[in-house]
């Protein structure tokens, strides 16, 4: 890689040990990619020095003394423990494994809570914004068109590139922690114009309108294109933020989609031709009734028992409108005594839901509004859970495998109906 003088100075250790170790990692990473230089990044989201029992155990360190040990040895992949200074660019902390308020509901130990709080406080002291969400774009960090970012969280990455027109690869924990200290990230992939054009053309031949429709379409596309870039044309209604959120998250789970174009909707796709960069697509893939049904069946393949004992909503973290919808669907009724309802969102959105009264309605129905994590990340479901109902294709992709449970996938309304009745009555489209 060709380094600037400022980058050389960091790599030589003239800017301190932490920046030296961070640059060393970033250079190794850039060379692995085949990148030739770095870009300056102004917006980093990650999970700096996130504590986990396996790391504390391996490094033989107590939570009180763990921050610099974990930041150095795990995040910066350094064999030497270095002092970690303040972050140099806008840096945000994503979701973790514990809800600071609802940790008991999640079945987490007080030790786990303390671990999370120690890590968070040490990050905050170094200038990291503690957003604690997979949806930073809903919680106060909205990158600008063309801004070079270094983001983790595949559902946020695909939103950042596709909807906002900012530029990020799917970064990892180590690269984001290094970028927070240096403001550098390899100039590769989505930072470059030529990489952002669509490669595959998806022709939608069935109506795509609801959150569930968009989730299924995203799930289909991820499986069909893998890591490539789809441009979607055809019969879809103009998506709102929530549709984008569920569509992108699904495409990034069944495949590795980091950017998509919707003709006439997303900022780099005013037309099909412009989205494709005037090149022919590698494949034209139809999405009709048969494909939609097949996707629905795949998502529901792991469920046989109609008795639902858990409903989990808020993947990616619920927007305020979704909390309003859930509160409205509950309509003053109580959920079944055989079922639990957990809704996950960010602290920022929960604060809004609290003042709007939605949290109180969900609680009065017997549900819980939780923040900072989700069932997959926290590896937490109510005790004895055998069958879960979900409205997120992404969560349906992960949760059954992680927790060894059955999962039904359907609309938000079908999930709330399952919470109220304890039975799954989802309808195949």
């Amino acid at each position: 890689m060709r380094l600037t003088e400022a980058e050389e100075a960091m790599l030589d250790g003239r800017e301190g040990k932490a920046k030296q170790k961070a640059m060393d990692l970033l250079v190794r990473y850039g060379e692995a990619l085949g990148a030739e230089r770095f870009v300056d990044t102004t917006n980093v989201t990650g999970v700096p020095a996130y504590y986990s029992p396996v790391l504390l155990d391996y490094y033989k360190v107590a939570p009180d003394d763990a921050y610099e040990v974990i930041y150095s040895r795990f995040d910066l992949d350094s064999d030497e423990v270095v002092e970690v200074p303040r972050m140099v660019v806008n840096s945000c902390g994503l979701q973790g494994g514990v809800d600071a308020e609802g940790w008991k509901t999640l079945g987490k130990s007080y030790e786990a809570l303390r671990m999370s709080e120690r890590s968070e406080a040490a990050s905050a002291a170094r200038g990291v914004r503690i957003l604690k969400t997979c949806t930073p774009y809903l919680a106060g960090n909205v990158p600008k068109l063309g801004e070079h970012c270094a983001w983790m969280e595949s559902s946020a990455v695909v939103y950042c590139n596709s909807v906002l027109g900012a530029r990020t690869n799917t970064e990892g924990r180590e690269s984001t922690s290094a970028a927070m200290l240096t403001g550098k990230i390899p100039d590769w992939g989505f930072h470059r114009d030529e990489f952002r054009f669509a490669t595959h053309h998806i022709q939608v031949e069935v109506n795509v309108e609801s959150v569930m429709d968009w989730g299924m379409l995203g799930y289909f596309i991820g499986a069909a294109v893998g890591e490539r870039i789809p441009v979607v044309t055809g019969r879809f209604s103009r998506p709102d933020l929530i549709h984008h959120k569920h569509f992108g998250a699904a495409a990034a789970s069944s495949g590795g989609v980091e950017m998509y174009h919707l003709e006439g909707v997303t900022p780099e796709a005013p037309s099909l031709r412009q989205a494709l960069g005037s090149k022919a697509p590698a494949a034209v893939i139809p999405y009709g009734k048969a494909e939609q049904r097949r996707t629905y069946d795949e998502l529901n393949a792991r469920a046989t028992d109609p008795n639902v004992d858990f409903v989990m909503l808020g993947c990616p973290h619920a927007a305020l409108e979704q909390l309003r919808e859930i509160a409205g669907l509950l309509d003053g009724r109580r959920i079944s005594g055989n079922c639990r309802l957990w809704v996950f969102t960010s602290r920022a959105i929960k604060a809004e839901a609290d003042v709007s009264g939605y949290t109180a309605v969900i609680r009065a129905a017997g549900g819980a509004v939780l923040t900072d994590t989700c069932s997959s990340i926290a590896q937490a479901v109510p005790p004895g859970t055998r069958v879960v109902a979900l409205d997120s294709a992404k969560q349906t992709h992960y949760l059954p495998a992680i927790m060894g449970i059955q999962a039904w996938f359907g609309t938000t309304a079908e999930c709330i109906d399952a919470a109220l009745t304890g039975r799954w009555n989802g309808r195949r489209p």
Binding site: V54, Y58, F74, T170, E174, S175, W188, G226, E227, S253
Partner: protein, 154 residues
């Protein structure tokens, strides 16, 4: 796969072996038994880093361990926790010995770097067409050379 075991292909350095040439991702040398899949692999949520096994529902390798194997696969997919999940396999001692793959992504590049194992990509021929699970494979990361011998080492 049309080549029968022991067939000598172009530029062999040893009879009965096949040589693939690619690009260094991470340097170093490793040899071991190949574990081959045509499915891309998720890191976080797709593997159990404590045991080094694939856990993704419907994955071709579900339940199989990649510990100490030469992992031959199309590439990475899924969560941005890919590198961290595979990084933990280094800590728990369940990491593969080397990565041989087709599709370069940030996930796989960072994962290979922090696992500190040799990794090679951009081959002259598709390793998924040539290598079969159980083949004995040597990976020279620095030179970008992968050598395959049919079946486990005698």
């Amino acid at each position: 796969m049309t080549t029968s075991p022991g067939t000598i292909l172009d530029g062999e350095r040893r009879p009965g072996s096949i040589t693939l040439r690619g690009r260094k991702v991470v340097g170093g040398y490793a040899e071991g038994e190949a574990l081959v899949t045509r499915d891309t692999i998720s890191g976080w949520g797709g593997i159990n880093p404590m045991t080094g096994t694939v856990i993704e529902t419907r994955h071709e390798l579900r339940g199989q361990s990649f510990k100490d194997k030469i992992l031959v696969f199309p590439g990475a997919k899924g969560s941005s926790g890919w590198s961290a999940a595979f990084h933990i396999t280094r800590i728990t001692g369940t990491a593969p010995k080397a990565l041989v793959f087709n599709e370069m992504t940030t996930k796989i590049a960072l994962g290979a770097v922090v696992m500190r194992i040799p990794a090679v990509t951009d081959f002259d021929r598709d390793p998924l067409e040539i290598i079969e699970s159980g083949d004995w494979v040597t990976v020279d990361g620095d030179r970008g050379i992968v050598e395959i011998r049919r079946g486990p080492r005698n």
